[in-house]
Symmetry: C2
Subunit: 364 residues, 2 copies
């Protein structure tokens, strides 16, 4: 009986058993360089008998590449972004032989910095980042200084030259306004999730992430195109927590001339609206209308279904991986700004005021 080795067999053990040199065994296993087919067989057999598995850390060390990409993402559940994007990225990477090291920043710039540092130290071959803010980018630049490819997703960051994959939220909210207008709505509310320490307010914060900026600009552009005046619009910015969002909804609804339709900038806000509306016995799609950004299973399953601006999150992730791997395989690609189209999915949460002439909006 053979003596059991306590630790895992290495290529040296395989080489010995096959009666060849370390280099030859490595070539046989790795399938590179010149090597006789008969030798390959021999080495394979020895490897199988020993249960040999190559040590990927040693391999990474020698080859200077880990076949691992780093993902720095904001883990916000309800927006159905974190999970959908993560799955898409993990699956796309796997299909190309890469694994994913995942880190969560919780929208915190310090955590983002640290996550990036750690991933670079771990020698990932490239990074996909959902930046937590558009304002700071020295840490992103430092990724590039370190020579690692970088792809930004979901949010743009000005001041840095890197490939980014985002969605056309401007057109999305514009389409939402257009849709509500076509259904006869003339008073628009907008409930906007925003980071910060100011609770909730109707005052536009100085600094917003690019998706939120786009959604606001799309809203304003849609209103302008349709001749909707400022006094027909109202909005609230608020932190993404239950207390503030509930109060923000209340403030929107309790205005003298309350909006008939409310857009929400993400699913948290939509849920806040749903909750407050429920408490007030306001029926969605009847007493109050709703359109939100980001589709979800529950938005489709509810009665009535929620009308949404759907964003192609899976494509976002898959394309990001594709672009990142392209840069890894052949450094020096041109940085691209890829913008994916959004889609308005009309369900039942927007009341059709046109059908009921008695509800026709007053002169505005």
């Amino acid at each position: 009986m053979a003596i059991q080795k306590s630790s895992a067999p290495t290529i040296i053990d395989v080489a010995e058993r096959a009666g060849v040199s370390r280099a030859t065994a490595s070539r046989a296993m790795g399938g590179y360089g010149r090597i006789a087919e008969s030798t390959v067989e021999l080495v394979r057999k020895a490897a199988a008998e020993l249960g040999y598995r190559p040590n990927e850390v040693a391999r990474a060390m020698r080859q200077g590449r880990t076949r691992t990409i780093g993902l720095v993402i904001v883990a916000d559940f309800t927006n159905a972004f974190f999970d959908r994007a993560t799955k898409a990225i993990v699956d796309a990477a796997k299909a190309r032989g890469y694994q994913v090291l995942i880190t969560n920043t919780d929208e915190d710039i310090a955590a983002e910095r640290q996550a990036i540092e750690t991933l670079v130290d771990k020698q990932v071959d490239g990074l996909i980042v959902v930046p937590s803010t558009s304002a700071v980018h020295d840490h992103l630049a430092s990724i590039q200084t370190s020579g690692k490819p970088l792809v930004l997703i979901d949010r743009r960051v000005d001041g840095i030259i890197a490939t980014s994959v985002t969605t056309d939220d401007f057109s999305g909210t514009e389409a939402a306004v257009r849709h509500a207008h076509a259904m006869g709505h003339r008073r628009f509310g907008f409930l906007i999730a925003a980071e910060g320490k100011y609770g909730h307010s109707s005052e536009r914060p100085a600094l917003l992430i690019s998706t939120v900026e786009d959604r606001i600009n799309g809203f304003l552009s849609g209103c302008a195109d349709l001749g909707i005046k400022a006094r027909q619009q109202s909005w609230m910015f608020c932190e993404d927590n239950p207390r503030d969002s509930d109060q923000a909804v209340a403030k929107l609804l309790d205005q003298p001339k309350a909006p008939s339709v409310i857009l929400t900038s993400n699913n948290d806000m939509a849920l806040a609206l749903l909750k407050t509306a429920g408490n007030r016995r306001l029926a969605i799609g009847k007493d109050i209308s709703l359109i939100t950004v980001d589709d979800s299973q529950w938005a489709a399953a509810m009665a009535p279904g929620i009308t949404v601006v759907a964003r192609p999150v899976e494509s976002l992730g898959a394309i990001a991986v594709e672009k990142l791997l392209a840069e890894i395989d052949a450094p020096g690609q041109k940085a691209e700004k890829i913008v994916l189209p959004t889609e308005l999915i009309a369900r039942g949460s927007v009341a059709n005021l046109v059908m009921y002439p008695e509800n026709e909006p007053e002169n505005y």
Copy 2:
């Protein structure tokens, strides 16, 4: 002006600049062994000037540990497990200085095998696995053979000795039945998501994952305790896809004596019920009652809120990490079967039949 090195500085560069040996520089940076405080200062300064960052791959190679754990998980979104568990695990790991390599199996045993193999090859220090089936476990055993600690979460696997962290779904569904009974319900339906290739059926599949087994047994136990007879119960098993789940819901509702309350084994099934009920203009919590396993933001926000059996998914993940790291730090820990309590959260989706004597269930 100094000559720019093209690649990242190594400890050798630091040593040279500080005028000490490689070993001393390493000691200074790593903070181990005997070393003079003045030398540490010197080396730190040199490292800072060069922008030196230790190569974690080389370090892992030498130390035989990567400070990385592998996560093998089933990415099913709607059950709010994948995202919540992943975030909890990533955050708990980070707090202890570990990173997470994530892989998705999509409930596929072949993918699970391959994922495990890859992660072991990448020399993760331990694995957390959500097993896709209870039937096969040789690949899990092979993790242990390789000497890597293993913690199972969410689902039990018989035939393998490993620490597992699960939730008490038996008591959860039992409590759900009890709650509905207390509200006056006497006809119970159960819509159960199950893996397989049989579409939907009222016949109990031979093999189910442990969570589903527990939920069924809890349902049956609750019924038995309350004296609910077999003819007052009906169930459907079905694959987790829209077509089958819709048909399964229809079959439950179209029985001669349809159930007044339906339990669903996960959120997908709950959404299927919601959708069909909406199409039929059945009001939840009035015309048809619903309790589902797993809480979610939308279940809380809807009007009426959905009554749920909430599972402590974050704790599940955090405890799994804790146990795994304990085993990594000190191998030879005793395998534990940790079962976390579930909680019934009553909202408005279960009609109170007791309040309306005229609705009192007929003699049964």
